[in-house]
Symmetry: C2
Subunit: 226 residues, 2 copies
DNA sequence: AAAAGCAGGATTGTATACAATTATCTGGGA
DNA sequence: TCCCAGATAATTGTATACAATCCTGCTTTT
């Protein structure tokens, strides 16, 4: 699959990051290097590298000579991220409409076809992955590595919210229809329409989560370690 | 001052980061752990931590089992960052106008007073630092740690461009006057006016650099190591 | 009894040792 | 001459050793 020949530090980084985003840890919970190392069967060195990286992303706080504490993505953070995406993602789609490569349009089309196939069979699992992939390629198509980098991170941070959102009956179908509109606008090289379509998509997503209640996503995190 | 009791890894990180932003390295130049360690009188461990963090920021690329290569901030990156700031920074100022704490307004006022003092004596050195400080507090005043984090990084990445821009005769005075307008708008809790003031400030900065030529900022980097 | 001080253990910070991988150089063969 | 092993050197990846710091609980002192 996709996770294979990475270096240990990167693997550990991705695992802890995933766990934090997924809400496996309590806020402010301490991450001990040895404990994590034992858990993942690695020494402290790669764990330390991972923790330092996570601090840079703001997902943990490191107090010198004390330890690393989980910061996580709060409910407020998620709402802030959606606000930021509302500013940036439409802009990115507009740029994509202007300058997306044929190869990228094909990739998007492929994803859409796959998505439209899976939606009929209600394969929710696959849908979440395809949704992510769609947005990621959209970010690349914008042609700005800075914009791409930021949007990819934000999108990842919202993983939990997205999962909830797509589970609401009818939302998945609607979401995919919106993706299709975005893609068609980009294919037509219609900048304005692409921007609008993305903004609409985001607004709907936000409304959807609003109805669900933001607290239900970030609020009830449990510990669990495993 | 400010650089004192940090851990080695953090120090190394900041040093290399500063060097990359300042253009000390050639693009794609290889960063060898031992060489940097010798240079800074530390072992490989903190250097590795630093390089891993820099990779996350996109300032270096790490090829497993090969090495770390300088990516840096290209001319295109800078222009992209300005575009993104044009989207985000006005938004941030608007939020600041709504919700800045009295303490933050005071801090901004203090910086403005200092700046207006130094401008008369043409202390360009201090001006650059105060300019940065002004923007940083503005980012904090927005009240979104996500937004703050992103904007701080972008602002830092543009260090070289800013330096050039402020050296243009007359631009420093103008820039400071714009800062004053931004601050007054925020103090007046006038969201719209704050947004506009920031956007104007950014547009002027961009125009200023346009006139100077982007290539002159990123283009002629030399090596030099010391 | 409360507070200060002092072991002892636990955890992080840094350096170094060893393993694995990759690059470089050399020599032999076609 | 060109190309391809094979050995050697250099560099990175990971683990471990040692040092420094911090926390804990007890003792001692007031």
């Amino acid at each position: 699959m996709s996770e294979a020949n990475y270096l240990l530090g990167q693997k550990v980084f991705q695992i802890i990051r995933e766990d934090i985003i997924a809400g496996k840890y309590q806020r402010k919970e301490e991450l001990r290097e040895i404990a994590i190392g034992d858990e993942l069967q690695v020494s402290r060195t790669p764990v330390r590298e991972a923790l330092r990286q996570l601090e840079l992303e703001g997902l943990v706080t490191i107090v010198p000579n004390r330890g690393a504490y989980v910061e996580g993505i709060s409910c407020q953070d998620m709402q802030d991220i959606f606000e930021i995406r509302l500013l940036m993602e439409g802009f990115c789609a507009g740029k994509a409409a202007e300058s997306a490569a044929a190869e990228q349009l094909e990739a998007l089309e492929e994803i859409m076809v796959l998505t439209e196939y899976h939606i009929k069979n209600e394969h929710t699992r696959q849908l979440i992955g395809l949704d992510s992939k769609f947005h990621e390629i959209l970010y690349e198509a914008g042609g700005s590595r800075i914009l791409e980098h930021a949007l990819k991170n934000y999108h990842y941070y919202l993983k939990r919210a997205r999962r909830f959102s797509l589970l609401v009956p009818g939302r998945a179908v609607e979401s995919i229809r919106e993706h299709r509109q975005i893609l068609e606008a980009i294919k037509a090289r219609d900048k304005k329409k692409a921007e609008d379509a993305v903004n609409q998509h985001l607004i709907h997503t936000i409304k959807n989560i609003d109805a669900y209640g933001w607290e239900n996503i970030t609020g009830g995190q449990k510990n669990g370690k495993n």
